[in-house]
């Protein structure tokens, strides 16, 4: 089910993306300068400046009018030099902005600075009429992915069948009426009722029918019961539409950067919002929202009571961020992340066939770097845990002095059996339930 909706989703996405890109490509043939300037701006300036808002440095829209171009050409490559030389305008500017020294950019020659200024003057290229969809495709809620579309399709098919049947009956009736009017006697059909009754008197058929029924119900029941409480694919709506695809996939942020607990503790831990602010103090995705701060990033600011204009925190306005827990183990099952991702990393990598580039987390959490919104990838049932404990080869742990001693003691292992966690007592109740 998931696969179909995922495919649908990606088809939609690529369609929108394609159209958006083509539209943009058409509309931006001109202003080569500004385009180059935009690239340079993003690379060199955007960590401290935005066009319309104050970050570390002042907002830059209108800077061309505020200062003569000659001044800017000197200021941007080497502002500190200019201040040191005692240029009154430079000193004034330096003092006005809290005496925060601006990085020097000796690599920016005059042409490059001019391009940047051109970009600032023109501003962010407005997306063409059709394009906003491209943005929306990434941000609109995907609340209903959980099989709703499939149910819809099934319902439509069913309705169609019903309509077809009704239409068929009606046309048959009409046909018969016409034939009657024409005086042609038609052979009366054997009524359906009688036919069915006749069929049910055939013992072989009845036997077959009942057998089928039992098998069907039985297997449905079995599957249903087996998967009761299994939440594979659970994907609740989160208070912030946080995209792992963007952060872990496109931006290649290491899992540990946010989930630092996983490598030290039993809890992987959801990052506190100050971790988000390490980047999002500057990264505001304004380019996608008409120069406004992304509404999702704004949620971080609101929760922290942070005012992006004054860059001040107001603790009285802060309120906790209530994420919805995706991976829910029952309270009586003890699971420790560090045991698995630190101690058993190599064994798990080998068992799950992970690429060296992929984090070990993928073994259980799946391809997080492709998840627009996080969902539960593994069933997290006891059977699932145990299977892995039975099958994973941990002979590589011999290098760990702790295991070296334990493994040495095992008679069975000396006989050359495969070393699994199960062999070292990893299936015993008390190892996870206490």
């Amino acid at each position: 089910m998931r696969d179909i909706s995922m495919i649908l989703k990606s088809v939609w996405k690529s369609l929108f993306l394609f159209s958006a890109i083509s539209v943009i490509a058409v509309s931006t043939v001109s202003a080569q300068d500004a385009k180059e300037g935009r690239t340079l701006f993003k690379a060199k300036c955007s960590s401290c400046h935005a066009l319309d808002s104050k970050l570390i440095g002042p907002a830059l829209t209108g800077v061309n009018d505020r200062h003569p171009e000659a001044f800017l050409l000197k200021w941007i490559p080497n502002s500190q030099g200019l201040v040191a030389s005692g240029d009154p305008a430079a000193v004034k500017l330096f003092n006005e902005n809290g005496k925060i020294a601006m990085t020097s950019f000796p690599e920016l020659d005059e042409a490059k600075v001019k391009s940047i200024l051109a970009y600032i003057k023109e501003g962010e290229p407005k997306p063409a009429a059709g394009a906003p969809g491209a943005v929306d495709a990434n941000t609109t809620a995907k609340d209903g992915v959980s099989g709703l579309s499939i149910v819809g399709i099934v319902a439509i098919v069913l309705i169609a069948i019903v309509i077809l049947v009704i239409l068929g009956r009606a046309s048959k009736l009409l046909e018969r009426l016409i034939l009657q009017k024409q005086g042609i006697e038609i052979e009366e059909d054997v009524p359906l009722k009688v036919g069915v009754r006749k069929m049910f008197k055939n013992k072989k058929f009845v036997m077959f029918f009942i057998l089928c029924l039992i098998i069907c119900l039985g297997s449905f029941g079995w599957m249903g019961m087996w998967n009761t409480g299994v939440h594979t694919g659970y994907q609740p709506v989160q208070p912030i539409k946080f995209s792992h695809e963007l952060h872990a996939g496109i931006n290649q942020i290491d899992c540990q950067y946010c989930h630092s607990g996983a490598f030290k503790s039993k809890n992987a831990s959801i990052p506190s919002l100050n971790v988000c602010m390490n980047c999002h103090k500057a990264v505001q995705a304004r380019d996608k929202y008409d120069g406004q701060i992304s509404p999702e990033i704004k949620k971080i600011y609101n929760a922290l009571g942070y005012d992006p204009e004054t860059q001040k925190y107001d603790e009285s306005k802060s309120k906790p961020m209530e994420w919805v827990r995706v991976h829910n183990l029952p309270d009586f099952a003890y699971f420790n992340h560090s045991q698995h991702v630190v101690v058993a990393e190599d064994a798990i990598r080998k068992a799950k066939g992970l690429q060296p580039t992929e984090p070990v987390c993928f073994a259980c959490h799946g391809p997080v770097n492709t998840m627009e919104e996080i969902y539960q990838y593994s069933p997290l049932t006891m059977k699932w845990c145990i299977n892995c404990h039975k099958e994973t080869d941990i002979s590589g742990q011999k290098n760990n002095a702790f295991y070296a001693k334990v493994i040495e003691a095992h008679e069975k292992i000396k006989k050359g059996e495969k070393i699994t966690p199960a062999l070292l007592g990893g299936l015993e109740c008390g190892k996870c339930h206490y």
């Binding site: 939440h231 929760a303 906790p320 919805v324 045991q339 760990n400 702790f402 095992h410 190892k431």
Partner: protein, 1008 residues
């Protein structure tokens, strides 16, 4: 293998009463109505078809409706800004101190959940007592006030400050006195704060008083040696300890410290060096210390003075008058022997006395001086500052107040309306004080009479320090932000005194950095890290006693005569409740008294023969009327070993305004205390009148019986010296063993335990430590009566006495009822033995309890269906059944059934639900945690990496845990001791816990 000694836990077991026999046959005391259900309405009645259909329809509908509910969303709420030092899932430890004792506080995600002893504390690192272990629960007490109170209304701090400042100024201006009433203040910073307060309001004086006072010793030392101090006692340097009514292993001065000193000369290491101290106890009520004595002699309270005089005369050859013990011939005989022994062990012996009478203590000083204790076993130069209260000063204060001379009074950590000797007189006097301020955290007996309750922090929220001994300082640091709108008392005093530094943290730090640290050359951060600072101790000087004892002897004889009337009453602190300050702590209320095993009540303890003489039976309610007219109705407990003609009542009960759990538990015995010769006296005379009522005490002593099987092995020190395996039953021909079970190898680790019965004093701090560590519910008095206490570790207390004439029948023993005065006692910690051939595992129909490859008996709660077969089949009776959902049942509201108190839970241990079995898991969360730590650090597990909660708390180091596959581990060494035996080893369940025989140092050369 079997000795002639009989061991029994309670008189009902001893006498084999019908009730006991009946109850003992069943695993669970109350019969379940299964038979009734099956016989009556169950199978014979007919359910009409319509009823059946109705039920079916309703059931189907209900289930459908219930199933309609969507899966509940679980929220996951991270920190907004995570403190750098916090990693969710990993505990942080902070040093702090509790009553002067340095501790480590374990916190998880910013909430303290466990108290552990501080290994940095050097010689003062001696486990923790039950009170310290339980104290973490006080932080999460719902009965505390949530904001300061002004004239019975909750208010803000600025209102309080405004009011108090103007009132204090008024009191100061009017020339009236201002008094701060506090229990002993030994914190240098608090003293500095008070000094600053006195500078601002010069009419102020600090009055220190302790609910249970040591003024007698302090004044006696002043009199004898010119040093008004409580000395430091060195029980570890004493080969012979003679105690007259001092419960030094339990409640006297510093129980856990003395326990660790005392057991250092008696534990298995000491015994292997063929060394063991000898301990003789003279006392009236059976105390924890008395139960551990090698020889215990019951004496009446009125005989204590004469006994000391007799001892003095016997040692020095003096002839003080009054040293006659009347008809207590045993005591008379023993005193003479003890005198000889004391002279033999000069300089290596110690005499202590629990009396608070100055004269008596002067005499004790004289005895100690004559046996050369000063400079060796008693150290007057590094005194103890744990108690410094002055009884006379407090009495003077009450007089001042009633004369209307006091303008304002402040109560710091004191509650005289409950624990002063005459609370009515105190209340009347207090009413004449215009401004009354309490720093209590709740509206207790005193605070409810005050105008202002300036609620103080819990100690886990506070900054501070303590100076328990000369040159030994410990720090108090907060481990959680204040939960309620409370403010530290010291900070309140700083604010009211308009001190320049009002932040108490800054004040403490300044105080240390200016006064103490420069001389020591250490930094403040190091102090916080270590938790303690020790200055090199001064050499203990020898002191000689040169005063005349004539007046002292007269005074002793006179008070003894005044007391020698029927019935002599001793009021005492018991180990769980102490002075009653933590009466609202459910863990302590449910901790069985180490001797009587009574929970949730105090009682009148009376000797069996004396009870018979007075025609009083156990659990009869009697009216106890004191000579001062105060009377209470209390149930009777028949206590073997209680001196004839005496009764004992524990203090600390009968609180009325302490909170949900502690209100109206037992009766207040403080009014029986009298003020004689300038000090509080804890002995008086009373009359007993049966009311005809009956009240069943919730006593755990016979709840888990071994059916008279021989589980205690003991030997005398003499026998031990001849044969270290004496008494263990080793070397005797046993029966042939057959195994029902296969042998399994334990290649990795094999977790086992050794328990030294000679070190265990039975104090019970392990029980509380286990409760806190493993989220063990408190069940309350009624459920304890039904034998449903949930403690995973219990301490079985067995009485016995030597019978000389071979096999004795029960009838003959009962005939010699007076022998019950001279019982000897053994304490045996009993917990899941993690048997290799566990009988519980065989009978579990769902395999909820199974064995692990590292020697543990696992219990999977979520698999258990509650058949309770395992509990029935357990020979050690260590399995506990959850009869209720104790965490979520309004019937248990007083204890832990609220969200706030539940913050004390250990997040690494599941809370069990109704209908499942539980038992000691050998702190498996600690084992797994220790292993993981080693795995992450890529090193083999070291011995001592993993410690059990009970082991850590034990002051006596009686519990040794470790891996028996490691031949060099401490536990392997201990298990190789010849003294090791296994409880019920004859049934071949192969328990994982070895016990070391109890050794008594009874027969010495002197006696021969």
């Amino acid at each position: 293998m079997e000795s002639n000694k009989k061991y029994w836990k309670g008189l009902e077991e001893y006498n084999n009463t019908p009730d006991f026999v009946k109850n003992n046959k069943n695993e669970f005391a109350e019969p379940l109505p299964i038979e009734d259900v099956l016989n009556e309405a169950g199978l014979s009645t007919v359910t009409p078809r319509r009823d059946f259909l109705k039920a079916l329809g309703f059931g189907l509908g209900a289930v459908t409706l219930a199933a309609c509910q969507s899966t509940p969303l679980k929220k996951s709420i991270p920190y907004l800004v995570k403190p750098e030092e916090v990693t969710p899932g990993i505990p942080n430890y902070y040093t702090s101190s509790f009553n002067g004792q340095s501790i480590l506080v374990k916190t998880r995600e910013g909430r303290p959940i466990k108290i552990e002893p501080n290994p940095n504390a050097g010689q003062f690192n001696c486990g923790t007592d039950a009170r310290a272990q339980a104290s973490v629960l006080d932080l999460y007490d719902v009965s505390k006030l949530k904001a300061p109170v002004l004239k019975t209304k909750e208010t803000t701090w600025s209102e309080v400050d405004g009011f108090v400042k103007s009132e204090l100024a008024k009191a100061q201006a009017s020339g009236k006195k201002i008094r701060i009433v506090a229990s002993t203040v030994n914190s240098p910073s608090t003293n500095a704060v008070i000094a600053g307060f006195i500078t601002k309001y010069p009419a102020t004086k600090l009055v220190q008083y302790d609910a249970v006072s040591y003024t007698g010793i302090i004044q006696a030392n002043q009199n004898s040696f010119g040093k008004a101090v409580l000395p430091k006692y060195n029980f570890d340097k004493a080969d012979l300890i003679v105690s007259f009514g001092a419960d030094f292993l339990g409640t006297w001065i510093s129980g856990e410290e003395f326990t660790s000193q005392y057991t250092a000369n008696r534990n298995y290491k000491s015994l292997e060096n063929k060394k063991m101290s000898r301990h003789i106890q003279f006392e009236s009520g059976m105390s924890l210390t008395g139960t551990n004595a090698d020889t215990r002699v019951p004496i009446k309270l009125s005989e204590q003075g004469p006994a000391l005089i007799a001892l003095y005369n016997a040692i020095t050859g003096g002839a003080l008058p009054g040293g006659t013990l009347g008809n207590n011939t045993t005591a008379d005989k023993v005193i003479k022997l003890v005198a000889k022994e004391l002279l033999q062990t000069k300089g290596k012996s110690l005499v202590v006395c629990g009396s608070n009478d100055v004269s008596t203590q002067i005499l004790v000083n004289a005895i100690n001086a004559s046996i050369g204790s000063y400079g060796t076993t008693i150290d007057l130069d590094n005194p103890c500052y744990l108690y410094g209260g002055n009884d006379a000063e407090f009495n003077g204060l009450v007089a001042e107040m009633s004369r209307g001379e006091v303008g304002a009074v402040l109560f710091l950590n004191s509650n005289p309306a409950y624990d002063s000797i005459d609370s009515k007189k105190f209340g009347d006097a207090l009413a004449k004080v215009p401004t009354k301020i309490s720093f209590s955290d709740r509206s207790d007996e005193t605070a409810s009479l005050c105008d202002v309750v300036a609620i103080n922090h819990n100690y886990l929220e506070s900054w501070g320090d303590a100076n328990a001994y000369e040159g030994y300082y410990s720090i108090v640091q907060p481990t959680i932000n204040p939960v309620f709108n409370s403010r530290q008392a010291e900070e309140s005093l700083l604010v009211w005194a308009d001190a320049p530094v009002k932040d108490y943290y800054q004040f403490v730090r300044n105080n240390w950095e200016t006064k103490m640290l420069p001389a020591l050359g250490i930094k403040w951060d190091e102090v916080l890290d270590k938790g303690v600072v020790s200055v090199t101790a001064k050499p203990a000087g020898a002191y000689s006693f040169s005063l005349s004892l004539a007046a002292v002897a007269t005074s002793i004889v006179n008070s003894s005569k005044a007391l020698a009337k029927d019935v002599e009453l001793q009021v005492y602190e018991n180990v769980p409740m102490r002075d009653g300050k933590s009466a609202n702590n459910a863990f302590l209320q449910e901790l069985p008294d180490p001797v009587s095993k009574v929970t949730w009540d105090n009682y009148v303890a009376i000797a069996p023969k004396y009870a018979e003489k007075l025609n009083i039976k156990e659990f009869d309610v009697v009216t106890v009327k004191g000579s001062n007219g105060y009377s209470v109705d209390l149930p009777v407990l028949v206590q073997p070993g209680q001196a004839q003609g005496t009764v004992s009542i524990a203090l600390g009960y009968g609180r009325t305004k302490v909170g949900k759990a502690g209100n109206d538990v037992g009766k207040n015995a403080f009014p029986f205390v009298s003020f004689v010769n300038g000090t509080m006296q804890y002995a008086t005379t009373v009359t007993l009148t049966p009311t005809g009522g009956h009240y069943e005490l919730a006593q755990t002593q016979t709840h888990h019986s071994f059916e008279g099987r021989n589980v205690i092995r003991e030997a005398t020190f003499k026998e031990y010296l001849k044969n270290p395996a004496a008494g263990t039953g080793k070397g005797e021909e046993g029966h042939k063993n057959y195994d029902l079970w296969d042998q399994y190898e334990k290649p990795g680790n094999n977790w086992v335990m050794a328990i030294d019965l000679n070190a265990c004093t039975g104090c019970g701090s392990c029980i509380v430590a286990c409760n806190v560590e493993n989220n063990i519910p408190v069940v309350g008095r009624d459920e304890v009566r039904r034998r449903r206490e949930m403690h995973w570790i219990r301490i079985d207390r067995y009485y016995s006495y030597e019978t000389k004439d071979g096999d004795v029948t029960r009838e003959k023993e009962i005939a010699k009822l007076e022998d019950l005065d001279h019982v000897s006692v053994v304490h045996q910690p009993m917990l899941c033995q993690h048997c290799d051939h566990a009988p519980c595992e065989t009978v579990c129909p769902v395999l909820a309890t199974v064995h692990s490859s590292d020697g543990l008996n696992h219990m999977a709660y979520n698999r258990c269906v509650g058949t309770r077969y395992c509990a029935n089949n357990c020979p050690y009776k260590v399995r506990r059944f959850n009869w209720f959902n104790y965490w979520n049942d309004s019937r248990f509201d007083n204890y832990l059934n609220n969200e706030f108190t539940q913050l004390v839970l250990n997040p690494d241990v599941t809370t069990r639900s109704r209908g499942v079995m539980e038992k000691c898991s050998m702190c498996i969360q600690r084992i797994q945690g220790g292993k993981l730590q080693a795995k992450i650090e890529k090193r083999p597990l070291k011995d001592g990496d993993i410690k059990m909660a009970c082991q850590e708390a034990c002051s006596a180091n009686a519990i040794i845990f470790g891996d028996s596959n490691d031949p060099n581990s401490e536990v392997s060494k201990a298990l190789r001791s010849e003294r090791i035996y296994y409880v019920l080893e004859e049934i071949n369940v192969k328990p994982g816990i070895g016990y070391m025989t109890k050794i008594r140092n009874t027969d010495t050369t002197v006696q021969a």
